[in-house]
Symmetry: C2
Subunit: 317 residues, 2 copies
C-alpha cells in the first residue's frame, strides 16, 4: 500500500451479524459476502466458529463457507475461540484465523472465564497444535485496548505489556487494536496506535478496530491514521447495534469510512454504490438498525461531490 492507500476490512458478516437477534438465513449471509466482495473488499470477517448455543447466529458457519462462490483475491477470516473452533475452521478450509483476547482482566474473565494470561497460553498451545509449521495467517483480536466496560480507561502500558507476551509466540501476526466499547478518544487512539507500531512494527502488523458508541468513530479512524495505521475494520451499515439505542454499540459504518477516504482522496478500492446496495439488502433482510450517516444522504447528492457535479444538478438529474 502507498501512503495514499488504505485497507478497509469488512467485519459486518461477523462482528455485525453476531450482535443481531434475528436469525439471518444462510443464503442471505452468502449473498452479503458475495455483494461485499463485489464492492471491492479484499479482506473480510466471514463469521466465527463458536458454540451455536453461545451465538446462534453463527451456527451455519460451515454452510456459509460451503455456499460461497469462488471469489479470487478475497481473503475470508473467521474467528475461533479455542482449539475446537480452530479445528472446525481448518476442516472447512479456512486459512485465516482470528483469536480474541482481552487486555482487561475482568473483560477477559467475563468473555471466556479465565485470566488474559491463560488465554494467551491457550492461544500458544492451539497454534502449536493446529499449525506447527506456521502456514496459517493469524490475527489477534486484542479487545479493550482503550476502554473496558468494567475497568474504564485502560493504561497504554498494559496494552504494550500484553502484546509483548503475544509477539514471541509468532512473528508477523496481525493485531486488531480494538476499541471494544467505542468509548476511546481520538487522542488516545493516535497515541496508542503510534506506540504499538513504534514498539512492535518490525514483528507485528496492526489494524484499528473501532465502534461508534460515543460518536467518535470517524475521528478515531483519522486518529489511528495519524498514528500510522493503514488498515481499518468497519461494518456495512454500521451493523452490530445502533448507537441510538442504550447499550448498543455498532462498528464504525463502512459507508461513512469509505466516503470519508474518497472525499480525502485516499484510495480504498471500494465501490461505494455497490457497498450501499449490499447494506440496503442486509438491513432489509436482518431488520438491523441503520447506523450510517452517509446512507441517509440521497445518493445523487452523495456522489455529486465525488464526481465533481454540482449537487443541485445531480439531484435534478
Amino acid at each position: 500500500m502507498t501512503e495514499n492507500e488504505v485497507e478497509i476490512v469488512e467485519v459486518g458478516p461477523r462482528d455485525g451479524l453476531q450482535n443481531i437477534a434475528k436469525y439471518v438465513p444462510t443464503a442471505v449471509k452468502i449473498d452479503l459476502i458475495r455483494q461485499l466482495a463485489g464492492a471491492g473488499f479484499t479482506r473480510m470477517e466471514f463469521g466465527s466458529f463458536v458454540s451455536p448455543k453461545a451465538i446462534p447466529q453463527m451456527k451455519d458457519m460451515e454452510a456459509v463457507l460451503e455456499g460461497l462462490p469462488p471469489m479470487p483475491g478475497v481473503t475470508g477470516m473467521t474467528l475461533v475461540p479455542n482449539s475446537k473452533g480452530a479445528q472446525r475452521a481448518l476442516a472447512a478450509g479456512v486459512k485465516d484465523l482470528i483469536f480474541v483476547m482481552s487486555v482487561s482482566e475482568p473483560h477477559n474473565q467475563s468473555n471466556v472465564r479465565r485470566p488474559t494470561e491463560a488465554s494467551i497460553a491457550d492461544f500458544k498451545a492451539t497454534l502449536e497444535e493446529i499449525d506447527p509449521l506456521g502456514e496459517l495467517t493469524i490475527r489477534v483480536g486484542l479487545a479493550t485496548c482503550f476502554h473496558c466496560p468494567f475497568d474504564g480507561v485502560i493504561d497504554e502500558d498494559k496494552v504494550i505489556s500484553t502484546i509483548e507476551k503475544i509477539v514471541p509466540i509468532r512473528e508477523g501476526m496481525e493485531y486488531a487494536i480494538s476499541d471494544t466499547t467505542g468509548m476511546a478518544t481520538p487522542a488516545h487512539v493516535k497515541s496508542l496506535t503510534k506506540r504499538c507500531i513504534d514498539t512492535f512494527g518490525g514483528s507485528a502488523r496492526f489494524c484499528f478496530h473501532g465502534h461508534d458508541t460515543a460518536g467518535f468513530g470517524i475521528a478515531n479512524v483519522l486518529a489511528a491514521m495519524e498514528g500510522g495505521i493503514r488498515s481499518f475494520d468497519t461494518s456495512v451499515a454500521g451493523l452490530g447495534g445502533c448507537p441510538f439505542a442504550p447499550g448498543a454499540t455498532g462498528n464504525i459504518p463502512s459507508e461513512d469510512v469509505v466516503y470519508l477516504f474518497q472525499r480525502l482522496g485516499v484510495t480504498t478500492g471500494i465501490d461505494l454504490e455497490k457497498l450501499l446496495d449490499a447494506g440496503t439488502m442486509i438491513l432489509a433482510e436482518s431488520g438491523a438498525p441503520m447506523a450510517s450517516h452517509v446512507r441517509a444522504i440521497p445518493r445523487a447528492r452523495l456522489f455529486a461531490d465525488l464526481l465533481g457535479i454540482p449537487p443541485s444538478r445531480a439531484v435534478a438529474a
Copy 2:
C-alpha cells in the same frame, strides 16, 4: 481562554428549533434557555427576528426575551436578516446580533434572493444605520464555507475573498465559519480555519459552526481545533434535524462535543449532567429527533470515566 480551554456556543434555541416543524411554546423556549444557562453556557443563540411567515417557530422572539429571568454572565445572540429585524432586536434590548451571508452565490440567492455582494452591502448599510457608534457586538454567520447544496465543494479562495470584503466594514467582528450542509471533510476544516486565522486573525475572531450530516461532526470539531479555533457552535441533543432522516442535517450535538472535551481534559465550563437534563426536556417537548450518540449511553456509565470510577461499579450503584 487558555490553550486548554474552549468555548461551546449553544445554538439549539435558534438553529436547532427553527428547523423543527412542531411549534414549541414560549414557556418551553424560555425554560430551555434557562436550563442551558444553568448548565454553564455563557453564550447562546437565543433565536432570530425573522418574518413569522418564513419561520413560524420564531414568531414569539420578543416574548421569549421578555420572559427570560436575569442570567448574569450569559450573552444571548439573535439572528437578524435585515434592518427591520435588527430594529426589532434593538427594541427588545439585544446587543449581540448575527447577520448571515453565504459564500456561495446560488445559496445566497436561494436564501435571500440577491447576490452575496448585495447582502454584504445591505449588512454595511444596516450597521451604519442601527449602530453608527459601533456599540453592538456583531457576528457574521458565513454560510457554505466548505460545501454548498447547489455548487458542491467551495474553493478556499472564495471564502477568503468574501471575508476580505466584510472585514473593512468593522474591525473585530466574529465570523462563524459554517459547514452549512455538514458535508465538509476534516482536512478541509483544518485547512480553511487555519487560513482564516492566519489571514485575518488580527482584525477578526473566528468560530466553527458545523453540522453532522456525513457523520464527520466530531472529527471536524477536532480539525477546527487543530486549525486554531477555540469556539464551537453546537446544539443540545443535535436539535435541528436527524442525520438518520434523508435531507435532515442537525447541528453537532452539544453533549457529544462537551463529553469529547471533558475526556480530552479540555475545559468547557459546561455541566454535562445539566446539559443532558435540558436535552431530555426539549426532546420531550418538541418531539425532535435525537441525534446525540452520548445521550444514548446510560448516564452512570457515561460519567464513570470522567469520575475515574470503574463503569461496572457506576452502573451497579
